[in-house]
Amino acid sequence: MEALFLVIATLCYLCGTVGYLVYLYHDRERIHWISWSAMLIGAVFHAGAILIRSVQIGQLAFTTGQEAISLFAWMFVATYLVLQLRLQLRILGSFVSPLAVIFMLSTSLLPSQILPKSELFKSGWVILHVSTLFLANALFALAFSVAIMYLLQERHIKRKNFGFLYMRLPPLERLDSIGHLCLIIGFPLMTGGLVAGFAYASIVWQSPWNWDPKEILSIVTWIIYAVLVHERLAVGWRGRRAAWLAIFGFSVILLTFMGANLLLKGHHSIYTGKM
């Protein structure tokens, strides 16, 4: 049942992606509406799958690598769907939906196993830690998509070389301010998530800092985003540099997320089940 839902969700995302790629070439409101609906239906089935899994294991499903990526992909799509309603920046879908499909497909590469219930994950701290960080990451992923759009559009305008994307991409200031918005919401969430993590670690392991590889990478990511936020607010960084830093920051997040979970050993390497 859960697997079926996941397949349906992936197919819906795929339809949405195809629709949005067509939308890139044909500016029809109908195409956008269909694609958005496909993403929405996909997100509903996806949520169903996560819910089933969570009920099955008796806690929020994020403990295996597959579950974590799946949850992240869902949050990413959901954030996009909500933001789309607010921002009305339709073309964003063309850049977001392929990412969603990639995340979904990467989950299927990982073994689907169910870990035994662990009391460690039942704490409210963990739920807070995971949900805020995932939401922050989803926002940073959106900022990443927007940054790519910004760089493409900036390249068009700077080099005075107008491809068809020039007509379709939104104004630079708009992209920059959306990136800014994602950052301004995402950064406090990330900070909160990390604090919750340290708080819980100090409860469980009597020390907030345990030289876990993921802890180190998370701090590095936090510093990158802190620099970006500071430069934006204090110095007025914007545009190309801010876009590159948003792309760099998200790359480090991916490294932290995938790499630390799957490859490195530590108490975040939850996939192996060893604590």
């Binding site: 559009q153 305008i157 700077k158 005075k160 070389n161 107008f162 020039y166 007509m167 939104p170 104004p171 630079l172 200031e173 708009r174 110095v235 007025g236 960084w237 914007r238 545009g239 190309r240 540099r241």
Partner: protein, 451 residues
């Protein structure tokens, strides 16, 4: 045989550097038309110079010699060194191609900005100058008036003009792609020429509320500021005003760039890196192209705006095709008129007219006198024929004699008007001009010529 030749260069054939050189040359007070009396082969001439094109329209009897002579004039006037091969940048259109090109230019189909309205005014100015220098006669007079009426026809019968993308329109579109909403942006005009005025109008029409004018002569700045409810800043302080501006339109006549890399770079931090959009509509350029390399600064000069316009051009291709069809029609009409300008067709139509009148009158007379004998009728026929023949003898000899001179077009045209000979398109030859002052100028010129 009278040839019409159009020789020149425009934004498509010559790079901005060469055109800048031309613009400098054309700001000199001396109009190249004053050289015409000293030219051997060229008969009539009109000189059109705008910031995007320089064109000589002339008539001559020998194509080779005429073209060579005008090329020499172009060299001496522009002062290009002999080593640069201007031939690469030049186009030469002959006869009907020249006519068509002129019609295209007048209708703004050849403009950098398709459908922009200024070119017609500039062409009228060029014509006025030619009338002052007395370098236009029958052919070019007719041709230019025709060009003005074609332009008007294109404007009213197609949407080229109404959806006129001008440089300023293109600039507004670009500003939208950078800023999104431009209503709360601040626009500064540096230099207050006609072009700047037009651009400012566009920005105001798009909802921009804050406009600032900086101009060397304060009087002109205040005049513009009054018109647009704008502020003025002293010309020397415009660099400091950059701090608070978002869009800068520059169109001064300065010979050197007035805004340099360091000027902008040092002010970006103070601006907190807010985007700054420079539109450089001046030739020579006002803004160092290197400024474009600064982050969040975008510089577009007149050639760059071309790229933006190409996108619009795509959408307007249908309209342009329609307009071109109109122009082809008018070119053919003009060709027909040109053909009548040699002696033989004039004489033929003169004879034909006389013969038609004779026949009509004979028919009426014979109808009233039914009892005339065959012999009497024949005698009357012969009588009327010989009256006409004798009466037309002198004018025809006169026309044949004039046909060998360079001035034949003038005389043929005059003869046609004198005898009211139909040339199929004669109807619009009398109220020649679209605007009254040109009409009076040209008719007084014609009177002078006749004296």
């Amino acid at each position: 045989m009278c040839h019409i030749v159009l020789l020149g260069m425009n934004h498509k054939t010559a790079p901005v550097e060469i055109r800048e050189q031309l613009a400098v040359a054309c700001r000199q007070e001396v109009n190249p038309l004053h050289m015409l009396p000293r030219m051997e082969h060229v008969d009539e001439m009109v000189f059109l110079s705008t910031c995007n094109r320089v064109e000589f329209l002339f008539t001559c009897n020998s194509l080779q010699d005429g073209i060579q002579e005008v090329k020499t004039l172009l060299r001496t006037h522009v002062g290009l060194p002999v080593s640069t091969p201007p031939d690469n940048y030049l186009y030469v259109y002959e006869n009907m191609e020249a006519v068509k090109h002129l019609f295209m230019v007048a209708s703004s189909l050849d403009s950098m900005v398709l459908g922009e309205p200024q070119i017609l005014g500039q062409m009228k100015d060029a014509y006025r100058a030619a009338v002052e220098y007395r370098t236009v006669k029958t052919v070019l007079n007719r041709l230019l008036h025709k060009a003005f009426s074609v332009a008007k026809r294109v404007r009213t019968e197609t949407c080229i003009g109404s959806c006129a993308v001008s440089v300023s329109y293109a600039a507004v579109e670009l500003a939208r792609k950078i800023f999104g909403d431009i209503r709360d942006k601040k626009v500064m005009l540096i230099g207050a020429g006609e072009m700047a005025e037009l651009a400012a109008e566009h920005f105001l029409a798009q909802g921009v509320r804050q406009l600032t004018v900086a101009n060397r002569t304060l009087e002109r700045a205040m005049e513009l500021a009054g018109k647009f409810r704008a502020e003025t800043v002293p010309f020397d302080c415009f660099l400091d005003a950059l701090k608070s501006m978002d869009i800068v339109l520059s169109s001064t006549g300065a010979q050197q760039p007035i805004i340099r890399y360091q000027d902008v770079r040092s002010r970006m931090r103070e601006r907190r890196n807010k985007p700054l959009f420079f539109i450089d509509i001046a030739v020579p350029r006002d803004i160092d192209p290197k400024v474009n390399e600064i982050d969040n600064v975008y510089v577009y000069d007149i050639d760059d705006l071309q790229g933006v316009i190409d996108i619009n051009r795509e959408e307007r291709r249908n309209q342009a095709q329609l307009a071109e069809h109109l122009i082809d029609e008018e070119t053919i009409k003009f060709k027909r008129w040109m053909n009548t300008l040699s002696a033989v067709p004039t004489i033929i139509s003169l004879r034909a007219k006389a013969e038609t009148i004779r026949r009509n009158e004979i028919r009426k007379t014979f109808a009233q006198l039914p009892d005339l004998s065959e012999r009497e009728r024949e005698a009357i026929e012969i009588l009327t024929e010989s009256i006409i023949k004798k009466f037309l003898h002198d004018p025809i000899v006169f026309l044949k004699k004039k046909a060998q001179r360079g001035t034949q077009a003038t005389f043929m045209d005059f003869a046609q008007q004198f005898f009211n000979l139909e040339d199929g398109d004669g109807a619009d030859s009398s109220p020649l001009a679209q605007d009254a002052d040109i009409a009076t100028e040209s008719s007084s010129f014609l009177e002078n010529a006749k004296k």
